[in-house]
Structures are given as structure tokens and as C-alpha cells.
Amino acid sequence: MTDPRSPRSDRSRWNWVLLPAIVIPLVPALFNHEEPRLFGVPLFYWLQLAFLVISVSATLIVYRVTRR
């Protein structure tokens, strides 16, 4: 265990990987299209669900790197 008296910090360069996970799903130009379809599902729907991968990876990286 670290010495509780010495201030622990949440600062880490790795925290920046969270930023694209927040920004990318908010750019309609990326996903507001019909084609290509995946199993008949338009891009709009499957790509926005696929953005989950970015979100999960980003939070997982930050967790792994900053884990005690």
C-alpha cells in the first residue's frame, strides 16, 4: 500500500485516450449514412453501436494503467 500521507494523483497522460471516445460518437458526418449496410442494418445503426468498442477500450486502458 502506498503511504496515504503522500498525495496520490489521478493525473496521467493516459487519461487523454478518453477524449476520442467522447468526441467520435458526437460527429454525425461519420455515421449519418445508409451504406454500407451490415446484415441489412444501415451504417447509422451498426456504426454507432460499434463505437462502444472505443468507449470500452478507452476506459479499460485508463483502468489498467491507473490501477493500484
Partner: protein, 532 residues
């Protein structure tokens, strides 16, 4: 005899099973004494990763979400899909914020977001405003859970108010007895049922309807026939800004809701929260699949019962599944309403107890008295929710919930930014809150919805043309209100400092925000850690 008898029997059996679990939950994880808010209201503050995942997942993704989001796609198309980006970005957005909230709350024994504002800014007034905002935003949300149950009951041909009252009375009784342990235990059953039902639904139903290709074609055909300009299976130039600001605004608002905070604070350590930020998106995937049920309902030719568009998903299940599985699916929705309703009423009760009762009515309240007041308040809150649905037009609750999202966002400067900076002056935050609330109300009041004949409070998409911009684009009203809030808070902060207005006392220290389980400052339970 009712043609839905099989469904009703299975629904009732599963409902009674989880009700039994709710009462037994008081003994789960060895609580020697439920007479404190840490135990009754936060389940001992000792939940590991799995329990937190089920609990927070069951809390955020409610029965109402499961019927309302597909109903949105059924009615308007792509704009309803905002729920997916919203629940995708919220976890990376709040991850670092929540662990700070966890730390400072565990060091100072805080139970509610308003508790934090109290110790951070030394302002009981600001804490009161945050508490009232939380209670007002949560109440209609609880009422909406009843709409989820009601939609299912309607589809099964069960009419009258009595079944709804019985369901909520049972819920009220075991929440009173077991506190947060009840929804935590029930969440296991609820979520497993939901996962099974949805996975079956998204494989079985499209197979019967000729695949996703023809489902989307049917949706396209429906929207092409309607005169409304904003619908369709893709966004258009005018609603993209609304889509994005609504997703972002909702993502920022989600963890400001008191019931979300309750779930987070009940966890054992910062690592549990971080791990859940990667695990909770599993529910977002589920939500995305559920949303598509709206289009499946279009393709299957489902018509809502009366004008209640929330019945389309239950109707779809009823039409597609064999009776016994429809019963299971309905139970999943019904039980899905119980978990969030329980947590929300606990969170609202905690706000009342900590930030109104203890602050203003009885300063020397003991732990046991706090727990007793919270338990009674949780009953009052549920009775209020039932009355809301039975006596007032349910549409009123839907309007209120819409307002709820906008107003809870106005606590962001005090709660979320307050976790990072003490720059804002308490006077500035109070001024910002007042301005943001006023702006939000004025904006919402001026949104009309011709589709359901609402002249006011017709939605959250505010037309920018009303602000004098020459554009048909719309934007999320809560987002605009938050900008007003922040601007006023900043200006009033500068003004208050110039005038030498007294700063409140900040009782927190920088290291409180990074403390973790095991540190001497963190008040740990004496119980063993339990399972993860």
C-alpha cells in the same frame, strides 16, 4: 376467460419470486443493523464489481427506457437512437469525475450529491437547491416506471388501478425493510431476464420478419408516407445538432441524478467504479438492440393500444412470441421497473433526510433517526408517484421527466465542476442555478409539438429560429440552459469577489479527492469485503 392467461400466470409467478427476494435481501451480506443510512441507504457501502454492475445497470437502464426508446424509433425514427451515443459517451466522460466523488464522499461520510456541495462550498442554501433539484427530477422518473408496468398490464388485458397499486405496495414494503440491498439482489434476476429476452428477440423476430433489410425498408416506407419533416431512418441537416447536444447533455446529466450517485457510492472502492465504466456499456449494446424493436414493430404492423405508443414493444412481443415466453418478457419489463423505482425512492429519501431534515429540522439527528426518516420518506415518495399516475394525466409525468433532465443538468457546476475547482463562489453558483433553471423552463415552455397537440413542453428540441437565427435547426434546451447557467455563475463569481462577499468554508482537502479503500481516512466497514 382471458386469452392472456398463460402470460398472466408466468408474469405473476416471477413477480412474486422477486418480491420474496426483496424481503429476504435484508439478511443478505450480513447486515447486523440496518438502522443507519450507510446500511439502509447505501447497502453497507461495500458492493463489489459484480453487484455494482447489476445494481447500476438495473438502475440506469429502466423499464421505461426499454419501452420508451423503441417507441421513439417507432414514432420518429433515427432521432430516437440518441440513447445509444448518450450511453456510449457517458462512461468515458464521467469516469474520472466519479472516482473523485467516491473518494471525497467516503472520507467525509457523504450520502448525497447535495452533501458534497454542503461540505465543499459551506453553503446550506446551495445544498438545499441541489437537493430539491434532485428530488424534483427524480419523482416523475419513479412515476414513469409505473407507465412501464402499465404498458405490460394493458397488453395482457389487465385493466383497473388495483394491480398497479398492489405492485407498488409490495415494492414499497420491501424497500422499507431491506433498503438498497433489495434492488441490488433483485437486479440480478431482472438483468438476466432482460438479457435473455432481448437476445432472443433480436434473433427470433427479424428471422420471422424476413431479416433486418426488410425491417428497415418497412420503416423507410412508413416515414416516407408521413408528412412530418423530422422523421426517417437517418438524421437530416436540421436535427443533427439536436441529436448531438441531446446525447451530450443527457450523458452529462446521467450521473448527476441522485439515484446514479447512490449506486456509485455503494461500491467498495475506486477500482470497482473504474472497472464498471468498461463493463456498463454492455447495457448500452442491449439498449441499442432494444431500440431496433421499434422498427421491428413497424415491420410487423403493430398498432399501439389507443394512443399509448409505449405499448408497441409489449404488443410486438405478444404478437411474435409463444404465450409462455411473452410472459417471461413481460415479467422482465415489470421487474425492470421495480429496481430503478426502489433505488430512486431511496435516493430521493436520502436527499430529504440529509439535506432538509437534518439540516433544517433536526440538526442532532442520530444515525438511527436518519434511517427511520429515510425509510418513511421512501414510502411517501412512492405513494406520491402512484398518485401522480392515477390522478393526473400520465402525460404530465412524461413532461415532468423531460423537465427533470434539463433541471438536473443545472447542478453540474456545483457538483461536477465543484469536484475539480473551488473557483466558483457560492453566490455565483446560486445565481447560475437560478438563471439556468429559469432559462430551461422558458425554453421548454416555448417548444410546441404539433404531433401530440402540445403548445408547450412539447419536447426538448428548441428551434434556433426563436432566438433570431435564420435556420430551421434545433438544439437541446438543457444544453442552452447550462450555457446560461455557467455564464451567469462565472460573472456572479467575479462580482461577488469584487464586492467582498464571504466565501463559504471548504471542509475538504486536496488529498480527500484521491483517497481509496484501505486509507486511514476512508471510513471502511468492519465487515469482510465479501465477494467481488
Amino acid at each position: 376467460m382471458n386469452e392472456h392467461i398463460t402470460e398472466i400466470v408466468i408474469f405473476t409467478a416471477l413477480f412474486l419470486l422477486v418480491s420474496g427476494m426483496g424481503f429476504v435481501a435484508a439478511r443478505w451480506r450480513r447486515a447486523d443493523n440496518l438502522a443507519s443510512l450507510n446500511e439502509w441507504g447505501l447497502g453497507g457501502r461495500n458492493f463489489g464489481s459484480w453487484i455494482t454492475w447489476f445494481l447500476v445497470g438495473g438502475d440506469l437502464y429502466t423499464a421505461y427506457t426499454f419501452v420508451a426508446v423503441p417507441a421513439l424509433l417507432f414514432g420518429a425514427g433515427a432521432t430516437g437512437f440518441f440513447a445509444v451515443p448518450y450511453t456510449v459517451i457517458t462512461y468515458p466522460l464521467v469516469m474520472l469525475v466519479l472516482i473523485r466523488l467516491w473518494s471525497v464522499s467516503h472520507v467525509h461520510g457523504l450520502v448525497t450529491p447535495a452533501d458534497f456541495v454542503r461540505v465543499r462550498f459551506g453553503s446550506p442554501t446551495l445544498a438545499l437547491l441541489v437537493a430539491i433539484t434532485g428530488i424534483v427530477a427524480t419523482m416523475p422518473y419513479i412515476a414513469l416506471q409505473l407507465i412501464g408496468i402499465e404498458a405490460v398490464l394493458k397488453t395482457m388485458g389487465v385493466t383497473g388501478d388495483l394491480p398497479l397499486i398492489i405492485a407498488f405496495a409490495i415494492l414499497a414494503a420491501y424497500t422499507y425493510q431491506s433498503g438498497l440491498r433489495a434492488p441490488a439482489l433483485i437486479a440480478f434476476v431482472k438483468d438476466i431476464l432482460i438479457y435473455v429476452v432481448i437476445l432472443v428477440a433480436v434473433i427470433y423476430i427479424p428471422a420471422r420478419l424476413g431479416g433486418f433489410g426488410s425491417i428497415f425498408d418497412a420503416a423507410d416506407a412508413k416515414f416516407a408516407k408521413t408528412p412530418a419533416p423530422g422523421d426517417g431512418t437517418l438524421l437530416n441537416a436540421n436535427n443533427q445538432l439536436q441529436y448531438v447536444t441531446l446525447a451530450l447533455g443527457s450523458a452529462m446529466a446521467l450521473f448527476l441524478y441522485p439515484h446514479s450517485v447512490t449506486g456509485v457510492l455503494a461500491s467498495r472502492s475506486r477500482d470497482v467504479i473504474k472497472r464498471n465504466m468498461s463493463a456498463l456499456p454492455a447495457y448500452s449494446l442491449l439498449l441499442g438492440l432494444i431500440a431496433l424493436l421499434g422498427y421491428m414493430a413497424i415491420a410487423a404492423g403493430v398498432t399501439p393500444i389507443g394512443t399509448d405508443v409505449n405499448t408497441v414493444v409489449p404488443q410486438l412481443f405478444d404478437q411474435m412470441f409463444p404465450d409462455w415466453f411473452t410472459g417471461v418478457a413481460f415479467a422482465a419489463i415489470g421487474i425492470g421497473a421495480l429496481v430503478p423505482a426502489a433505488i430512486m425512492s431511496i435516493a430521493a429519501a436520502n436527499l430529504f433526510t440529509r439535506n432538509i431534515y437534518k439540516e433544517y429540522l433536526r440538526r442532532d439527528a442520530t444515525d438511527a433517526q436518519e434511517a427511520r426518516v429515510s425509510k418513511l420518506t421512501s414510502l411517501v415518495v412512492k405513494v406520491g408517484a402512484v398518485l401522480c399516475i392515477l390522478l393526473i394525466d400520465p402525460q404530465f409525468s412524461i413532461d415532468l421527466q423531460l423537465i427533470g433532465g434539463v433541471i438536473i443538468l443545472q447542478t453540474l457546476p456545483s457538483v461536477a465542476l465543484g469536484l475539480y475547482t473551488r473557483w466558483f463562489h457560492r453566490v455565483g453558483l446560486i445565481a447560475g442555478w437560478t438563471a439556468g433553471m429559469t432559462a430551461g423552463m422558458v425554453l421548454l415552455y416555448n417548444i410546441a409539438n404539433p404531433a401530440n397537440n402540445h403548445a408547450h413542453f412539447g419536447g426538448s428540441a428548441f428551434p434556433l429560429s426563436k432566438l433570431g437565427f435564420d435556420t430551421p435547426m434545433t438544439v437541446y434546451a438543457g444544453f442552452l440552459a447550462l450555457i446560461v447557467n455557467l455564464a451567469v455563475a462565472a460573472l456572479a463569481t467575479v462580482a461577488a469577489r469584487r464586492l467582498g462577499s464571504a466565501e463559504g468554508v471548504d471542509a475538504t482537502r486536496p488529498r480527500d479527492y484521491t483517497a481509496d479503500a484501505g486509507d486511514p481516512e476512508v471510513k471502511d466497514d468492519l465487515e469482510p469485503a465479501g465477494s467481488t
